[in-house]
Amino acid sequence: MTTKIIELGAHQLALEEPMYFRVKLEGDRVADLDVLPGQVHRGMEHLVMRRNLYQNITLLERLCSLCSNSHPSTFCAAVEEVAGIAIPERAEYLRAVADEIKRIASHLFCCAVQANAIGETPLFRRIMEVREIMQRAKEAIYGNRMDLAANVIGGVRYDLTPEAAAYLAGAMEEMKRPLDELYLQFGNNPALMARMAWVGVLPREAAVECAVVGPVARACGIDYDVRKKSPYGAYDRLKFEVPSQTAGDVRARNLVRLAEARQSVSLIEQCLAQLPAGPLCADNLPEIPAGEAIAKSEAPRGELMYYLRTDGSDFPVRLKWRVPSYMNWDALKVMLKGEPVGNIPLIVNSIDPCIACTDR
């Protein structure tokens, strides 16, 4: 059998960000893979040590577009932990609203990109149309379609007026039926089944060994969700399920995402129903003392972790974060092994890779 090595870049894989792969082929099947990151390395962990804690909220929101709210909210949670700041209850709910809005939009984008990767253009358009409901909600409430600028140390910097809350409730109502339809379609449509079922399989044991997180892990039967395992913000008062699958294939990953998006609709509705009155931000913020803290959240792609070390000044001694995609790249070696070349773009996109987040 002929062994050949090919290089694949963003343009061949329908990725919107630059990531390169060196793929070893045996015949037309993948035998091995080398992931070559670093093309959008911006030295951001260096930059954050040259900016004060407030400036870093703005910088971190620009780390990535699709999970842009998770970074500032988790960073703020780390600062609040170091300083012993309790954020107001209303702010906890408003942070959850922002996170869940971003989660729905992110998951739908991932499913749309995969539809595009397999040539299902009408489905791609349909998903993006549904996602547009979320984009408009973001634009209406936060004034922006991607970066929400919702977080500040000690709380949030936006509020939901009764009018905005009613608008958002209407948008959630609008999302339910399309999300249910998409779930059925990704689960049962023969054309999608033919391309996605039993493709890019990651067995549970390999998922544990690679330590994958988020929907990639939950599609292999690992029901780990930071919102349940390490509750933060309002999540300890909200009811939701952690959808999981066991097949570990492309189809399972998408079913997990679509079921999660449906759960997010419910979470936003619960937040709107329970939204307590009160301030948006803690009064009289203390000086940030010397200390260290860990903060975690469930970003759209899975567990996001921040470590903050301070020395009593306004600048972090060290601010380190590990994004969920960072954990998931390695699993592509398992998912792609033995797959035909033609399946590479779909499988790579099925882990919902975030390259700007990975490189930092």
């Binding site: 390169y20 670093g38 933060y232 001694v317």
Partner: protein, 176 residues
């Protein structure tokens, strides 16, 4: 004391052959974080094995220069492990010069990239890493840029297009 804190204390003590102090903090939501300092790089491997036996998952590795690092001649690396929602941080104290730590890849496969990144950003040698190539940074950048002044325009490597593609293809020829 919970079962978790007791088990971690027992496992780390057995690994080290002496009692190891772990400081546990519980946040407002009841989530536990444990903080433990290891005196040297050699203490890391047995401690990491003990965490693996408790079904811990390596979540993140944070190398850093602590406050007054040069004065004290010390650097630290924090290894953060997930224990079913709780986070245990094992912080290894290392000399500033000639720092060495064992690779944790034989125990935690997902330590691979974390250690490659650690090696390129900081002046630390990871002993026994199976693939110690640079991960993100171009070879034209100096070693350990987080420990020296590097102009930001040199540091950032964001570029797409033909020049980058040519570089990727040239890399293949170098590897061949």
């Amino acid at each position: 004391m919970t079962d978790l804190t007791t088990n971690v204390a027992a496992a780390l003590a057995m690994a080290a052959g002496e009692e190891i102090n772990v400081l546990w903090r519980r946040d407002r939501k009841g989530v536990l974080t444990g903080w433990c300092r290891l005196p040297c790089g050699e203490a890391l491997l047995p401690a990491a094995r003990a965490v693996a036996e408790l079904e811990g998952r390596l979540a993140m590795v944070t190398p850093y220069l602590p406050e007054r690092a040069k004065e004290k001649g010390e650097r630290e690396i924090a290894y953060h492990f997930d224990l079913d929602g709780a986070t245990l941080t094992l912080t290894v104290v290392l000399p500033l010069e000639w720092a060495r730590v064992p690779s944790l890849t034989p125990i935690f496969r997902n330590c691979d990239w974390q250690e490659r990144e650690l090696m390129e950003l900081y002046d630390v040698q990871v002993v026994g890493h199976p693939d110690p190539r640079r991960l993100f940074l171009d070879h034209t950048l100096p070693h350990a840029p987080f420990e020296r002044l590097v102009p930001y325009s040199t540091f950032t490597n964001a570029a797409t297009g033909k020049a980058l593609w040519d570089k990727v293809l040239a890399g293949e020829r170098e590897d061949a």
